[in-house]
Symmetry: C2
Subunit: 402 residues, 2 copies
């Protein structure tokens, strides 16, 4: 009457490598592109370099308030022998950013100009040709790359692209992702909740992060713990979506069907990864599309998103991970950890006499409160079973302790 098998846990880095290698081979990381107006491209990722269609700036302009002159006319100027210039043949007044027309080729700061009467000035020192004049194309030459391929469009990139005359650009199409919450125990959070029924809210966590990371996420209907229902859900999604996420049913309990159904329709690359909280992750492919089974416990689902979905999307977009922030502290109490698996511990930081004190927040995979109250995450390596109090540690910050 054996109903379950222990799953073999794959080390985290190996699980990521196996899964991403399979996706690479399946061609998943070749993003399709689409054209988009530059004014709507903020936050999207370029698929091709964009070149300036015109130089920026497109005219010679003054970098100072002053007078535009012909440098050659000032060669002999000195305090003793000032050179007198007349408007508009010898000079014109210009303010920062103004066009410096031919034949003028230099600008003398207004502070250095001796103004005699309307239209007449004296200058008392020579100026070099080009001085205080911004040349054409100083920011971008015509044809120069404004942004490279695989670049996330920042607000300043939108500005520079428009300056360079680009009005549309090729961006990587967002992958279309569907998330199926599974489990006969799940109901809408706003419903009546008899004992045994659980509000389905992991979809909100999935949705929030997918939007942040550039996935076009849709939440599918609740799927009961039924093999046929899950198969139907997957099959119906394959036409319209590039990637399938499924929540729950990833362990080996009676209702845990995800791995079996992925095997039936495609192949499981990894089932079970050696980290806490959240090892019963399913990583697979169906019809060359990634399928990720996230654990049902919300904190475990959260780590599944951070450890597999986020780097998957970074690879898809060919982006480096955003820089992370770390802070040093010391353990306020001893910490025990699971041997043979990485453990991610949610911690709070409190100011101490000699730096930050690090406190472990209670709670396993089921307690969202541990994530909400955490200032950061402490990663304990696989081979560490315990850390004594006062151990110096490096915390990956989620938010600044205040």
């Amino acid at each position: 009457m054996k109903r379950r098998l222990e799953i073999q846990l794959t080390p985290l880095d190996e699980a990521q490598r196996l899964f991403f290698d399979a996706l690479e081979q399946a061609g998943f990381f070749i993003a399709p592109e689409e054209s988009l107006p530059v004014r709507e491209a903020l936050g999207r990722v370029s698929n091709r370099a964009v070149h300036a269609l015109r130089p920026v700036p497109h005219f010679r302009s003054t970098a100072m308030d002053g007078i535009a002159v012909r440098a050659e006319q000032t060669v002999s100027a000195s305090e003793q022998m000032p050179v007198e210039l007349r408007e508009p043949d010898d000079f014109i007044y210009v303010d920062t950013g103004d066009f410096v027309p031919e034949p003028f080729d230099a600008v003398i700061m207004i502070e250095r100009v001796r103004e005699l009467e309307s239209g007449r000035v004296q200058v008392t020192q020579p100026i070099a040709s080009g001085k205080n004049v911004r040349p054409v194309g100083e920011d971008f030459q015509q044809g120069e790359v404004i942004i490279p391929a695989d670049f996330r469009i920042t607000p300043e990139a939108v500005g520079a692209l428009l300056n360079g005359g680009a009005s549309t650009m090729w961006i990587k199409r967002e992958p279309r992702v569907i998330y199926f919450p599974t489990g006969s125990e799940l109901v809408m959070a706003e419903s009546e909740l008899p004992p045994g029924k659980i509000p389905e809210t992991n979809s909100q966590i999935v949705k929030g992060y997918l939007q942040q990371w550039g996935g076009r996420i849709e939440i599918g209907p609740l799927v009961p713990d039924d093999s046929m229902a899950l198969q139907e859900a997957f099959k119906s999604a394959l036409e319209r979506f590039d990637m399938l996420l499924v929540g729950g049913g990833t362990s080996m309990g009676r209702g845990d069907l995800t791995a079996a159904v992925v095997s039936q329709l495609g192949r499981v690359i990894v089932h079970g990864v050696a980290y806490h909280p959240g090892h019963p992750v399913v990583l697979g492919l169906i019809e060359q599309k990634p399928v990720i089974g996230l654990p049902g416990y919300p904190v475990a689902a959260w780590f599944g998103l951070q450890l597999f979905v986020k780097p998957l999307l970074e690879r898809y977009y060919r982006l480096s991970p955003a820089p992370a922030s770390f802070i040093e502290g010391r353990l306020a109490e001893p910490i025990k950890s699971v041997r043979g698996a990485i453990e991610f511990i949610r911690v709070r930081l409190e100011p101490g006499a000699d730096g930050w004190r690090v406190f472990r927040l209670p709670g396993g995979a089921s307690r969202l409160s541990s994530l909400i109250r955490a200032h950061g995450i402490l990663e304990i390596p696989e081979d560490v079973e315990s850390l004594p109090a006062e151990t110096p540690v490096r915390i990956r910050l989620l938010r600044m302790p205040s």
Copy 2:
């Protein structure tokens, strides 16, 4: 015929303090609140703590796959003298997350259960009451704070709020902000560009960051360099907006009217701040509302946003700044800096034999390319005029060098 005055530059930290103190007194940092469905609150900032309307979980559930039992029935169990239990009076099968009904009070892992025949099992060791049972309210007790006030709503917070039965919440209303680009030289980026005309694109930088930082931003019409026109623009905006931004006209050239107009309608707190690029910033109040004049050069405008608008919005929302990311490196070349003003230098990083090599990107306040190509920002203090090559420096990362 003196047409300009040198502006007195205020140190950066003093400028921020003076301006924010004035805003504090004007009551600007008391955010109005509005009620919003929790499902739409992602990224917004709570104005009141939200308490759980029901315990989470709201029923006793099993943390394991196994059998739910009455602990007292197992007291005498041992390998030699197993206790036999019958379904459903003595035990029921439960999978992780299932309801554990009365009178059961503990769960024995399925691996530790000796299954005899359908409906009969033996257990070989005693179990403590409560073991493997998640108590009611383990994540949040009824009435417990799920999120505090002044908390930016993360995806997991949405999940926890819905779990706790909250369907709406009080959030801080986004300040309504308008940005007026000023300058008779400005035209739409998509227009014809004769010499002397400049594409108006700073609005896209302002818009992108304001959205990111939680301002409800609107871009006003282009305002010519005309005192009356700027006055009218400001006056018309005061009814509908909480904060005015104006781009350009902040220096002391012939067309630089911002400070004068702010003085006429309200008061200027600071004009000119001691940092590069971008010192001609105007910070003021009109009818108790903040007015910020940003320089016209795009890089200077960018720093104006980072140094004044971002911390202003953080204060408004009572949020700590998001954790920043730093990286250590060594200057590849000597750097000269302006004495008497902080200088923010855009740098690129390249891997070297003993860590990151730091290269200054060319360009003053006018070259957006310097921001787009930068990996980070090096801050040179006011009293430093030059740094020799190989100086170890700390770079604030904008993006990861790859």
